[in-house]
Symmetry: C2
């Protein structure tokens, strides 16, 4: 958690651990049910922390669940950033990110469930995947690589399309070819010609460690 | 409700009314919270029906909430079908549907909330908007109008993109131009050339009554 830098005292270490435990519990609950109606008592029990300590960290349950979604999406954002960090072309970054999100879903079921069930409500958030995507969209537009007008509209479309793909994957077991197809659709949407969109969407992916 | 055709006896009329009241209550709850954790007691009270009658209609709470989402999406599907029924070109149908969904959001806040908060989990369902869209995608592909491979992947992308737009509309107040931009992105995705996508996405819309 980026907002808790190297705690030094025993008190601060404990405090950071409690916050982490609450977020981990909320992530579990979200991944299991997609709902945020568990009571604070239930969350505290799941986190194995005292009921009273909840309010040292979060003003409301909603604030905790928002932090939990943000935490999961931030983790996914970092995973994908690491894998695509050496790619220069923003079109290739988008294509690889879409395909990697699908590919990582089996290995990271909790993050994937949270993204599928709650991610869309965070598609314009200031942490996680959204600001990374927005940065790449603006960059691609300014360099002429993407033919788009408002990057926020494009972000809504791309975020929704990726989550739609995860939803399809939850009811039909998709293969890597599905990720390529979705990447191709998204590149066309950004204004790439069809053969170039196809070529980029089917390029070898970075190895997932 | 299409599964309750012209009830004849007093018993059947009452039964249909109870079912309708339960679905209406579930739709209200979904639109208010997006969550489906209200108790059956709470739902029955909201519907003003006896607790016991719930199980004459639904086996589980999940079944009721699924039926409520399907009912709302079916209503939206009918609204849009009525408005776009005379359009021949499937590309123009998609563009108009996207723009109308945004335009109708102010007038139908309950349906819009349900679509935004729960619609994506129904993007591949067999009722509501999904089968209509799938039919038009397959038709457009077979006629060569759309350059797509698997219509289910395209449906995931389009459904996600529309809901992403409603999500953006919930945090930033969008104008009709945003609907045109999204329609244009979706037409490009389906393989239309950029100027044609732009022309179709900015055509005058059918009048909303």
């Amino acid at each position: 958690m980026s907002d808790v830098a190297a705690p030094v005292s025993r008190f601060e270490r404990r405090r950071a651990n409690t916050r982490r435990a609450l977020i981990a519990a909320a992530r579990q609950i979200l991944a299991e049910t997609g709902e945020s109606t568990a009571s604070i008592q239930q969350i505290a029990e799941r986190a194995d922390v005292g009921f009273g300590s909840f309010y040292n960290h979060f003003e409301t349950k909603t604030a905790l669940f928002d932090a939990a979604v943000a935490d999961a999406l931030e983790e996914l954002g970092r995973l994908i950033d690491e894998l695509t960090g050496t790619i220069e072309d923003p079109a290739e970054v988008f294509a690889a990110s879409v395909r990697l999100t699908l590919q990582l879903s089996a290995r990271h079921p909790q993050i994937t469930q949270i993204l599928r069930l709650r991610g869309l409500q965070h598609v314009h958030s200031e942490t996680g995947l959204a600001p990374r995507a927005l940065r790449d969209l603006a960059r691609g537009r300014d360099s002429g690589r993407f033919q788009i007008d408002d990057p926020m509209i494009a972000l809504s479309a791309i975020g929704g399309a990726i989550i739609g793909l995860l939803q399809l994957n939850a009811v039909a077991d998709l293969d890597a070819r599905a990720g390529e197809q979705m990447a191709e659709l998204i590149l066309r949407m950004l204004g790439l010609p069809q053969d170039e969109a196809h070529a980029i969407a089917t390029r070898p992916l970075p190895d997932v460690p």
